[in-house]
C-alpha cells in the first residue's frame, strides 16, 4: 500500500511443474511459469483451460497434487491461505453482504492476531485512505447491495489491498460488468497497478482485455501453458494454431506445404518449422493481411464481394472464393469504399500480404 511505511519489494512467483486433477480430468498438467516481480500478468484461456485453477492454486484456495509454488524463492506450496498473504479478488467479488463497505475493507485488519492488530483509529485511517485509493470516498456506510457492479469491484480491491498482500490475484475482474464500465475499470486497474507496484495476476477469457492490460500474457489450454509472451509477441508471433484461433479475427486455410513453403491466396510463404517440411499444413491469415487488388492487375485469387461493413477506421469486406464454404473477411482502407469500388456481388482479386503456416503433424 502506498505510503504505508517502506514499500516492500514486489514478490516474484515461480510455478514449477504444477499438477492437479479432478478424477480423470487434468485441470493443471505440468504447468511451469515465472511471474516477474511487479509484473501484471494475464492468464488467458477459454473456460476449462485451467486458468482459474492455477490462480486459486497460487492463492492457496485449491490444493495441488504435484509441483511447487515459490514466493521469492521460498516454497509456499504448503503454506496456508493466511500465511501466503495473498490479496484475492473473487469473480463475483464475494463482499460480506451483511457488512458495510467500511467493515468489509476493515475486516482483514480486524482479524489480525492481537499483537499485530492496529488500533481502531489507525484502522479507520487506513480504510479511508484505501477507499480514496479506489476512488470511493464517502461510501463507508453503504452495504454491498446498495452499490453498482463497478463500485463493488473497487470495494473488493480495497478489501484485498488492506492486508498489504504479497501479491494481488484477480479472478475474471471485469467479467460481471457492462462494456463501458469494463473499459474504464481496465484503465483504472492499470493505473492502480502502477501505483501499488504489486505483482498482479488476473484471469480472463477476453483476449482483448488480456492483450491491452497485461505486461505479459499466458495462454492456457486444457490445463497446459500454450504460450507465454508480451502482448506484441503473442499477437505478432502466435506459437501454435490454437493461439491463432483463440486470438480470433483470422481466416483458416487447410493447405499443403512443399519444401518448407506453402501457397495461400496467390502468395507463397515460409512455414513455421525447421527444415523442408512437406505435407498438410494449416494457414492463418488476419483480415488486415488480405489485400483487394485492382482488377486490371489480375493478381491473386478471384473473389466476390458478399457484404461490406463500412464502420470503424477500416472497412470490413466479406468475400467468397471458389472451393471454400466459409467467407473470408478482409479489412481494407476506407478510401476503397468511398471510391465506390466495393459494390455487392462485384468480382475482385484478393491476395494475402502475410500469413502464418503451421505443419499438421
Amino acid at each position: 500500500m502506498p505510503g504505508e511505511g517502506a514499500r516492500r519489494a514486489p514478490v516474484r512467483i515461480d510455478v514449477e511443474e504444477l499438477g492437479k486433477s479432478y478424477g480423470s480430468f487434468a485441470a493443471l498438467d505440468n504447468v511451469s511459469l515465472t511471474v516477474r516481480p511487479g509484473e501484471l500478468l494475464a492468464l488467458l484461456g477459454p473456460s476449462g483451460s485451467g486458468k482459474t485453477t492455477l490462480l486459486r492454486a497460487i492463492a492457496g484456495l485449491t490444493a495441488t497434487e504435484e509441483g511447487t509454488i515459490r514466493f521469492d524463492g521460498e516454497d509456499a506450496t504448503t503454506l496456508s491461505l493466511r500465511e501466503r498473504r495473498v490479496g484475492f479478488v473473487f469473480q463475483q467479488y464475494a463482499l460480506f453482504r451483511h457488512m458495510t463497505v467500511f467493515d468489509n475493507v476493515a475486516f482483514g485488519l480486524r482479524v489480525r492476531p492481537q499483537g499485530e492488530r492496529p488500533r481502531a483509529g489507525e484502522i479507520a485511517r487506513r480504510v479511508r485512505r484505501l477507499l480514496e485509493l479506489v476512488q470511493l470516498p464517502g461510501l463507508e456506510k453503504r452495504f454491498p447491495s446498495q452499490l453498482s457492479g463497478g463500485q463493488r469491484q473497487r470495494v473488493a480491491l480495497a478489501r484485498a489491498l488492506a492486508i498489504e498482500p504479497n501479491v494481488l490475484l484477480l479472478d475474471e475482474p471485469f467479467g460481471a460488468l457492462d462494456a463501458k464500465v469494463r473499459k474504464e475499470l481496465r484503465r483504472w486497474l492499470r493505473e492502480l497497478h502502477t501505483e501499488t507496484g504489486l505483482t498482479t495476476i488476473f484471469v480472463t477469457h477476453d483476449q482483448e482485455e488480456a492483450l491491452e492490460l497485461a505486461d505479459r500474457v499466458v495462454i492456457m489450454r486444457e490445463g497446459k501453458v500454450e504460450q507465454i509472451g508480451t502482448p506484441a509477441d503473442i499477437y505478432d508471433e502466435p506459437a501454435t494454431p490454437y493461439v491463432c484461433e483463440f486470438l480470433g479475427g483470422v481466416a483458416r486455410f487447410e493447405t499443403k506445404a512443399k519444401d518448407g513453403e506453402a501457397d495461400i491466396l496467390g502468395s507463397t510463404f515460409p512455414i513455421e518449422s525447421d527444415g523442408d517440411y512437406s505435407g498438410p499444413a494449416l494457414a492463418y491469415v488476419r483480415a488486415h493481411e488480405i489485400e483487394i487488388v485492382s482488377r486490371e492487375l489480375a493478381e491473386g485469387v478471384p473473389a466476390v464481394i458478399r457484404a461490406v461493413r463500412p464502420f470503424g477506421p477500416t472497412v470490413t469486406v466479406e468475400l467468397s472464393i471458389e472451393g471454400r464454404a466459409e467467407r473470408i473477411e478482409a479489412e481494407v482502407p476506407r478510401e476503397l469504399h468511398s471510391g465506390g469500388e466495393l459494390g455487392l456481388g462485384q468480382g475482385v482479386f484478393i491476395r494475402a500480404v502475410s500469413a502464418r503456416i503451421f505443419p499438421v503433424n
Binding site: L81, F88, F90, A94, V111, R159, A160
Partner: protein, 302 residues
C-alpha cells in the same frame, strides 16, 4: 368496426386519432369473477377449517366465565404441565439449533459421499408418523427394550420419564432448523468464507462473523417453527410419557386428559395457551417474512 392491428397502415392514421384498442389481458391474468370466486373459496375454507375451531377453543374456555378459566390454569397439575413443556422446549430447541446448524453447514459447504442420503435422513422425522417416533424410543429404552433393562438396572429411567419426552421431542423437531438453513447456505455458496480466510481470518472467526450473520434470520425462523412444534407435539410424546399427572404430562397431554374426564372448561383453558403460542409464532413468522423476506426467499417453506 373490427380492427385488425396488422392491417392498419400507421402512416395513414392522423396524429392524435389512434384507433380504439381491443381490450388486452396479460396472459396470466383472469377475468374478475374467476379471481373473486377462487379467493372466496379459499377464504371460506380457511374460515371453516381454521378460524372457526380456533374461535371455538376460546369460546369453550370462557363458557363459564373468567374465574373457572383462571382456576384451570393455576391448578398444580396444569402448572406442572406448563413447566414441563417449557423445560422440554428449553432443551430440545437449543439442541436442534446446534444439530441443525452443524448438519446444514456440513451439507451446504462440503462435498462428500452420501450427502443426499444425509439430506433424506434429516427429513425422516417429517415422513414418519410421530407415534412411530415415540415407539422407537420405547423399543430402545423400554423395560423390554434394547438398552432399557441395562439402563433401568443402573437407575436411569428414560421411558415414561422426562428424558424420554425430551428425546422424542428432539427427534420430531429435528428437521426444522436444518431444512431452513440448507437451501440458503447452498445458495450463498462458500466464496464469502473463502474471502474471509484469504483475508487472514481463522475458521472460528469466519464462522462467527461471516457464516452465521448471513443465515441469522433463517436460523431464527427455523427456531421459531421448531419451538412451536416442540411445545405442541402430541403423538410421539404421548407414547413415551406414561401420562403421569404432575410428572410427565406436557400441555398437549394435559389437555387430552382433562378432556377425557369431561372437564371441558379446563381442557379448553389449557388449549388457549397452546393456541396463543401458535398465534404468537404466526405473528413473529409473518414479521420475519415481511422484514427479511429476501433473505428467507431461498427456502422451501412449510
Amino acid at each position: 368496426m373490427a380492427i385488425d392491428p396488422l392491417a392498419i397502415d400507421t402512416a395513414r392514421i392522423p396524429a392524435g386519432n389512434t384507433p380504439p384498442r381491443a381490450r388486452f389481458r396479460t396472459p396470466l391474468s383472469e377475468v374478475p369473477w374467476v379471481k373473486f370466486g377462487l379467493t372466496a373459496i379459499a377464504v371460506a375454507f380457511l374460515a371453516l377449517m381454521l378460524v372457526l375451531p380456533l374461535a371455538a377453543v376460546f369460546a369453550e374456555a370462557f363458557r363459564r366465565g373468567v374465574e373457572p378459566f383462571l382456576a384451570a390454569l393455576v391448578e398444580p397439575d396444569a402448572l406442572s404441565a406448563v413447566r414441563l413443556t417449557l423445560f422440554v422446549a428449553a432443551i430440545s430447541v437449543p439442541a436442534n439449533l446446534l444439530f441443525g446448524l452443524v448438519a446444514s453447514w456440513a451439507i451446504a459447504k462440503f462435498q462428500f459421499k452420501g450427502k443426499s442420503f444425509l439430506i433424506t435422513l434429516i427429513d425422516l422425522p417429517f415422513s414418519v408418523s410421530p407415534v412411530i417416533s415415540g415407539l422407537v424410543y420405547i423399543l430402545l429404552f423400554g423395560s423390554y427394550g434394547f438398552l432399557g433393562p441395562w439402563l433401568i438396572a443402573n437407575g436411569y429411567q428414560i421411558v415414561f420419564a422426562v428424558p424420554g419426552i425430551v428425546l422424542a421431542t428432539i427427534f420430531v423437531t429435528f428437521p426444522f432448523v436444518a431444512r431452513q438453513l440448507i437451501p440458503l447456505m447452498e445458495q450463498q455458496g462458500t466464496t464469502e468464507e473463502e474471502a474471509a480466510l484469504s483475508l487472514g481470518a481463522g475458521g472460528l472467526r469466519t464462522f462467527w462473523s461471516v457464516t452465521l450473520p448471513n443465515v441469522k434470520w433463517a436460523l431464527l425462523y427455523g427456531v421459531l417453527l421448531c419451538n412451536a412444534r416442540a411445545m405442541g407435539e402430541f403423538g410421539a410424546v404421548s407414547v413415551v410419557s406414561g401420562h403421569i399427572r404432575g410428572k410427565t404430562n406436557t400441555m398437549p397431554l394435559h389437555v387430552e386428559i382433562l378432556y377425557n374426564e369431561y372437564n371441558f372448561v379446563a381442557a379448553f383453558a389449557v388449549a388457549t395457551l397452546l393456541a396463543l403460542l401458535a398465534l404468537v409464532t404466526l405473528v413473529l413468522k409473518s414479521a420475519l417474512e415481511w422484514r427479511y423476506g429476501g433473505e428467507l426467499a431461498a427456502h422451501g417453506r412449510h
